[in-house]
Amino acid sequence: MNRKKWVRLDNASNIFLAAMTNTDTKVFRMSAELTDSVDPVLLQRALDEVYENYVLYHSVLRRGFFWYYLEESDLKPKVTADVLPPCAQVYHFDRRELLFRVFHNQNRIHLELFHALSDGTGALWFFEDLLKAYIMLRHPEAFAGLNAAAHDRLNHQLEDSFAHYFRKDKKQNFTDAAQSAIRSLAKVSQSAGKSHAQKGVAPDETKQKRKLRVHQFRGKKTPDNRPHVIELELPVKDVLALAREQQTSLTLYLAAVYMLAVRRASPNFQPGSALAVSVPVNLRQFFPSNSARNFFSTTRLIYTTDANGEADEIAAIGRTLKEQFQQQITPESLEDKLRTLIAFEYSPFTRMVFRPIKDFVLKLVNYVSNRNLTIAISNLGKVAFPEPIDGFIGKMYFHTSAVRPQFCAISHGDHLTVSFTSPFVESTIEEQFVRILTDAGVAVTVAANKVTSEDLEVEG
């Protein structure tokens, strides 16, 4: 047997290992609802097919003295039934296991993935290809009837999405696929890394840091640390219309509703304290990269509530968030963020330090940044598949393990889904969120997982 190939884990992904706890497993889940129930045998075949092409997914995570590293394995993924709590731990220290799992329940296919391997956008490429492969195996009749031109067009579309990820001329080898996005980017544009000397802190950022009391939602933790998932299905048009009415984007509109919901759901909310939301930004939109590894930056948006009480309205929150968001995604500030990431990745200091110490430092960093956040959101945007595949796929879902209340949104066709996760048993924030939307005339469908022994004991 030839020697194993390995790539050390980049510093940016290291944070997920350091911040991983029993409650916040740093695992996220993507799901798709199909028109009919899932055939596990065909799903396994589709998975085998796609797995063959995605060498990054062959990785197992190992610990060294100085680094964690991703090592190519010859493990084969197995499709299973839905038997674990949502976002259950995927990576265990000292165990050689794949960093993702694929399973199914009724008519849903789920993919769960450890965040150190890839981010939402990267994982979506894999998931889309898995769904395409499965639909083509499950409904061969839909593809048989196509004429030659339509077939060509479909193949072309499939290849195109594939090309996002693979260079056409050669299949990626493991070390290229597992290389961090930062390093593969730096290889393309050497100049980006050179200028990190001029990095400065944004002026308003420092101003805001002065003695701002960020509100934290507290609740009763779930009895076995599983995340409490509450999943909303909404008609995308209606929500988009509401967002337009407030002259803001869908993501920021939902963030504003969420903030208001937190404020209403917190029994001892101190007027005047701030609500802070973390919104990740996919850096691939701004810097050309076809890496499937983590390549995102986060923005932190703050709304300081009215000290005198009641005056907080969605419109005002939305306006503030939009202003701040636009400031943080200007080319200059994003380049700044990228420079920080590059400097961090190449910093000689991080090379010399033992891994447990690095983990400890990152834990502290994570703790401090958690203290300054109320909620987090993530929107993967609109997903579309080429016809006739698209017709077999209904709603898509996306959620993540959470150390604080969080939601993830994704849309497909006419359906937007917003999935809340939180470490707490309470669902008051989600209740307020739903009521704000239903009061505005949006039809909402709710599903939730059961987290307490009382709910689980009910016959049914």
Binding site: D224, R226, V229, S427, T445, V446, K450, L456
Partner: protein
């Protein structure tokens, strides 16, 4: 489908009360929407663990005080009682953390705590309290806490029987202390040996076959 009149939302699944606001839901109309989240039993329940341990601690403290006051008539060994209780807490917590590799967890626990005590004893000028009291107490309580943990984590017999066996065998070690005369008081060691022997007999009687099959599997060359 079910509908919550308070949230004005459609609810999927078999909920009686709204999962958001706990209002009783309206009667279901024709197509009942399936629950996309299967009922997955709790892996453990932090609250129950907490209650159990607190209760046990109180019972132990009271029992020890009674024994000390009524039987022996002095209060010298209170630290030892506290040490025993702390070792119970630590044992259960490590067992739960290491629930995926309990063999490692137990060996780790018994060995590390025992060595720690022997070291403490050595530092304070070797009076033999570690071999007389600490190690036998740790061994005995490890068996007790393993019984508790196995119930709470809901393990199958095959998954824990070898570890219980390991713990029971380690609990026999104080017999060595007795024969080598490393003890000033033979009661704790005898107790540990007795508990281990009883446990051994019970598990060999009830789960002998399982043990054999497990050993065969794990020792497969």
């Amino acid at each position: 489908m079910k509908h919550c009149p308070h949230c004005n939302a459609t609810i999927k699944g078999d909920w009686e009360q709204c999962p958001l606001c706990q209002t009783t839901l309206d009667e279901a109309t024709k197509p009942v929407l399936a629950d996309p989240y299967p009922k997955i039993p709790l892996r453990f329940n932090k609250e129950i663990v907490w209650k159990y341990l607190t209760l046990m601690s109180f019972v132990l403290i009271i029992a020890f005080l009674l024994i000390e006051l009524i039987w022996i008539g002095r209060m010298e060994n209170l630290q030892l009682a506290l040490f025993g209780i702390m070792s119970m807490w630590l044992s259960v917590l490590i067992l739960i953390r290491k629930r995926r590799n309990i063999a490692k967890g137990i060996v780790y626990l018994i060995v590390s705590l025992s060595l720690l005590c022997i070291y403490l004893d050595y530092l304070s000028g070797w009076s033999g309290w570690s071999t007389t009291y600490a190690v036998p107490i740790i061994c005995s309580f490890a068996i007790v806490s393993l019984y508790i943990a196995v119930r709470l984590v809901k393990l199958g017999v095959r998954d824990y029987v070898l570890y219980l066996l390991t713990a029971a065998l380690l609990g026999l070690l104080p017999a060595l202390f007795l024969t080598l005369d490393w003890v000033t008081n033979s009661l704790p060691s005898s107790l540990s040996v007795m508990m281990s022997a009883v446990t051994l007999v019970i598990i060999l009687l009830y789960h002998g076959g399982e043990i054999w099959r497990e050993l065969e599997k794990r020792m497969h060359v």
